[in-house]
Every structure is written in C-alpha cells, then in structure tokens.
Symmetry: C2
Subunit: 411 residues, 2 copies
Amino acid sequence: MTISETCRLAKEHASAAAFSSEAEKNKMLMLAADALLAREEEILAANAEDLARFTREAWLRDRLLLDKKRIAGIAEGLRQLVALTCPVGEVIEHFTTAGGLDVSRVRVPFGVVGIIYEARPNVTADAVGLCLKSGNAVVLRGSKDAFCSNAAIVRVMKDAIRAGGSDPEFIQLIEDTSREGAREFMRQKGTLDVLIPRGGAALIQSTLENASVPVIETGTGNCHVYVEKSADLAMAKTILLNAKTQRISVCNACESLVVDDAFAREHLADLLAPLREKGVELVGDERARRYAPFVGTACEEDYFTEYLAMKLSVKVVEDVREAVGWINEHSTHHSEAIVTADDEAAELFLREVDSACVYRNASTRFTDGFEFGFGAEMGISTQKLHARGPMGLRELTSYKFVIRGNGQVRG
Amino acid sequence: MTISETCRLAKEHASAAAFSSEAEKNKMLMLAADALLAREEEILAANAEDLARFTREAWLRDRLLLDKKRIAGIAEGLRQLVALTCPVGEVIEHFTTAGGLDVSRVRVPFGVVGIIYEARPNVTADAVGLCLKSGNAVVLRGSKDAFCSNAAIVRVMKDAIRAGGSDPEFIQLIEDTSREGAREFMRQKGTLDVLIPRGGAALIQSTLENASVPVIETGTGNCHVYVEKSADLAMAKTILLNAKTQRISVCNACESLVVDDAFAREHLADLLAPLREKGVELVGDERARRYAPFVGTACEEDYFTEYLAMKLSVKVVEDVREAVGWINEHSTHHSEAIVTADDEAAELFLREVDSACVYRNASTRFTDGFEFGFGAEMGISTQKLHARGPMGLRELTSYKFVIRGNGQVRG
C-alpha cells in the first residue's frame, strides 16, 4: 500500500474509532494487552531480527531492545489506560446566544493522528493505546531499524481486536520507512489531522521543516536549574543532582546550571561536588571557573546544547532578572526550576520564564504525564499551540460547536 | 529593518505586552481608538495613495477602501475590546500530585503572534487590538496593495500608545511586502509563536506549504445546507436563502445544497425558487435537474468549490447517512446545517459531520465571534489543532504549568 492509501484507510475508519463506546475501547485495550503477553515469543523473535541488523550506538540499541519484562511493561501500560476516562463528548462550554441559538462546545477526537518516531518499539503500543482510548485513528511511521518489532506489535494488537469482534483498521503502520517516505507522510494533509514527532532534535526539526499537516512539537529539553542567592544549599545540591543525573537521556533532565554570583562565590564548589564525584563533566563561564577551579571552559554553543549525557554547563548571573533573561534566550522552553527561599524572586521566575513547566524548589525531572497524574503520556509539547507540557488523553482531542436552533437566520 | 529584525523587536517587547495590567491595556485601546478618529484625514490620505495604485477587481477595491464611517467602525471595534475580560492569568486547573507538588495550569499569552493578510486595512487595527488585549506582541504582514493604509493605521495607534506613556514596540509592521518576504516571514520560528493567515484559499495554502511557525488555518468555507426529508419547507427555504444570499463573499455562506430525494422529488423546484428569483446560478446532479429543470449541470469540481458568488451546487441523496458522508468528503470543515424535524437524523448529523460548527435548523451564517458573543474575532479556524471555529481572545492564549514544591526530587 502507498503511504497515502495507508493514511486514507485509517481515515475511513476514524469515525468507527470516534464512536466506539468506552466499554468497547476498554475491551480492545485488555485484549491487546493479553495478546502481547501471549505472543511475546513472536514479538521477541521479530525484535531479534531488528537487533541482528542494528549497528548503531549501544544506547540506541538499548532503546530498541525488547525483553519479557519490557513487553510486560508495555502490556501494563495498555491496562492502565482502561482506568482513565475518555474525555470525548465532554461539553466544555454551553450558552444561548442573544438570538436564541443553543450552543455547545463539545470535545471530539482529532480524527487521524500521525506519529513519526525513532527505534523505540514501546512507542508503537503506547501510541496505539492512547489514540484508541481518545477515539482517534492512528497512523504509525516508525523507523526502519525497528520495523520488524513494530510490525509484530501492530499485528498482535490488531489480531486481538479483530478476534474480539471489532474492526482494527483504524490502526495503520506505514510500510515505507525510507526518508522520502517520511517526507511524504508529513504532507498527508487532508487525511492526517495532526502529526506528532517523538524523538530527537533532528527528527523534530525535519518534521517542522517538511510537514504540511499541523504538528505538535515535542521533546527537546535544554532544561535549567537556577540557584538564587537565598537558596538553601542542601536543597540546591539535592535538586541539581537529581535533575542532572537521575536519568541523563531524557528531555526533562537538567543541562545547565544558572547561579547567582552571591551564592556561587561562596558555595559553587560545594554545590557541584556531588556531580563531580559522579563523573559529570562541568563547563562554565569565567566566574564559574574562578569559584570552582575544576570547571572547564564553556563555549557559546554549550549553553544551547541538550547534552543528554554526563555533562553540565554553568553560568553565573547577578540576580533573578538576569537569570530569567538568560534562560529565555537559551532554553528550549521545556522545564526550568528555581531554587530559592525568596517568594518575590520565585514568583518573578515562575511568571516570566517562558517554558512549558516552571518549578520552584523541585526537580525538572517531574515533567511527565505519569508524575502529573495524567495516567499516560503521548509526549511533552514544547510549542504553545494547542498543548504545552505533558500531553495526556485530553490533549489528543479537539472540539466542535454544536448549535441547535428553530429556524434562525442572520439579519 | 529586515524581517527577522522586525520580528525580533516584537519578541523583545513581548513580555511587556504580557505583563501589562488590564487598566493599561484598556487605556491603550481607548487612546488608539481616539487617535484613529482624530487623525482620520491622515489615514484617508494614505488610503487614497493605495487606491490610486490599485488596478484589481472592484470587490477587492471595496475591501481596501476606507471612509469616515469605516474608520469609525474600526475605532468602535477597539473600544468594544475594553469591555471584554482578558483571559490571561486564569488558573485552568489546579491539583496536588502524589508527591506533594502543587501544580497550576495557568493561561498565558502566546508571546508573538504573526498575522499575514490581504488588502483589508481594517484587519490591521482589529489584529492589533485583539493581540494587545490578550497580552501578545504582534507582527503584521499586510499586502503591498494596502501598505500605505496599514502603515498609517499602525503609526497612529503607536503614536497614541507612546503619548499615553507606554512603549508601543510590541506592535510591528513588516515593511517588505514582496512574495519572498512573505515566505521569509512564515519561517521566523524562534521569534513568532504562531502564525495566522487571514484571507483567501491561495494565501492559506501558501502559508501551510511554507510556514515553519505553527499555523492556525482559517477561513475557507465550502459550507453545506442539508435538507432532510422531514424538513419544514418554509423553514428550509428561509434558511437556505439566508445562508446563500445574505452575504455571498463570506466564509460562512452556503455554497452547496444537499437534499433528500424524498423531499427533492416534491419540493426542490419550490425550495430553489427564491434563489432563482434572486439570480443565483444553480447547478446540480441528474436528479436535481430532473426535479427542477432550471438547474444546470454540475461537474465534480463544483462540489469542491467555495464560490463566494451567486452560485449554488445541488446534490440529491437518499438519506442522512449519505448526506453525512457526502459532506465530510466535500466540505472544508467550516460550517454545515441540517434542516429537519427528525431528532434522530439531527443528532446523527450533529455528531458525525466533522466540521467546526454544525447546526440544526439555523443558518450557517451564524459562525462568527460576535454572533457567538465572544465580542471580537481573529478569524474562524478550520483546523482541529488548538482552536476550531470562531477565535476570540481565549484562542489567542496558551498555558503553562507552574509547579511549587519544597525540595522534591524524583525517585
């Protein structure tokens, strides 16, 4: 099937997805979860095929790898969706116009959601589950490296849904995994209602450059922790260490420390000591190097870099105003934290830092749909259109106006 | 100034726009409205310059034309914004996580809104007013044909704001009105947070093709009136006549009639008579021509066309199911109406027609921010991402998550 035929097939089944009952959707989720476990050997065999062809870095290989524990985790993720309430049908607003029209703003699914992603087969099942529960059809375009794994997961889920008596064709996987195919996929306006890239900066950039379908930009996080002069040193150390090192490969990990001169002068070496012990490479400006001589030299590029590695840039500023300006200039508008005991500085930071999630006295690592209690997550939006921050089921919906009259015409 | 410098200047002033008080914003609106009236001669002179160079169709010339009455209308539009409440700062949602984090989802302005539009100088003042009231900076890219008018309106408004003691540089007008300039403007990602095209199908298509900035697609309306078999003939005649002819050049005007065979067989000639008398050109399928012999032949293209003219296409269907399928296939997902006395048919139509506004027993002409009581309108979105249907102040905002902790880190 061509890419446009595949998308069109999903669109033809979008209204079936939209008008399934909650009970039907939950049944499909449970059947799919059961089948992933029951047919895990088939999925592992497909994954082994992908792994055999895979020659890239070890950390990418780890993302591609499936084992029984990971498959169990994927199945559990689908089961957890059952407990969540589908937001479709909610009347967001209801009013009567001066002319007596009854107007309801009603939540509806997007229709067809396109997902383009890298070699992480777990995204396949997650995306299907979230789209199913939110009443959307879904077209998946995974990477070539994970094709066998993705195809196996989709086959197993669709078989289970079909066996349960529902039509699973609202789920489609693009077979063409070429680069040209990716660009063609991004331009399926008219069939795809929205396109969500899940992956690294290069994928997201390419999607923004090429897509004619509306995009929700996700993911890259050049996140900052700012230690204000009134900060408690112990709290600052704990938060910085957690934000930088608890998991380094994720978008909500800290990549840059901003610190007031008055604090840095006295405490910078101490603040950075736990990171140094953990082997984090530290680079900073002239003052940072003066206050903590083990810090290396940062170039301008460092301050714009999402390392996703054991490396941190350090910038010394005068006060919260300079910190806010610096962060707004350098961040990717994902997650930023201030550590402070000063309410005024905190409120200024929370108000003026232009990022999806702004924290006082907490780690940036909390930016996550599960942590926020959304129960599941399609990614973290770093754009301002539609959704910002963690996206759950509600962020996979649109709305429409339903107007009831009794013959009104416009005068 | 280059295009990117102009956008950058707006961005530098975005936080001043975002953090102006309601009182300051209202003062700016009133001063700008007063100044437009006080300096109307200057604006009319600039408009006369544009008109002197203008050689295109009369109806386009009418859109470009300003007179004292129109300037008074523009000023009145700004004054009406004063009465509306700015939605910025609203706490949309508030919860505490399992780990004790206090999370607020707070409404914030987009930041910098880009508007690209055709030769309608009234859009200049409307867009500035709406962005000002919603706390956004704005970059205007009007057409070459209206450049003198736009520049005069912007100059007068900015002068008034400056004289009132505020910095008006959050308002910027692009001086380069070339086609290459338009494309460059659409790619100012990093400074523009959102881009809204206001104009015809060609402008919107070009924006979708070229933009890297997130776009809100507005406007084109291939709107349908569907007359179901149980419809009251008198009501159907009134609604169809209003939707088609009350104002033909607007996006919420009806372009196509869909009618049940059982109704058409008996009433089509009668239903169409008032349109025929008004001089509307009628084209239809074989059955439509049989039931109303004065109907001409429609080609496939007709059913996809937004005429914006005294022309209507007619399609005969069997029932509401076929009507819904036909409309979803041919419409631009703007506004569609069913005329019916049958509740079941009505609910099926309202639920399954995939358009921004779906009506029962009312004219499609009501799709309008003023009619819905939003008090003002930036356009009508026909996409599903972010905003759908009429966009008022609230649709010019995003949100962010503000999280307050006491030292929490992720385990």
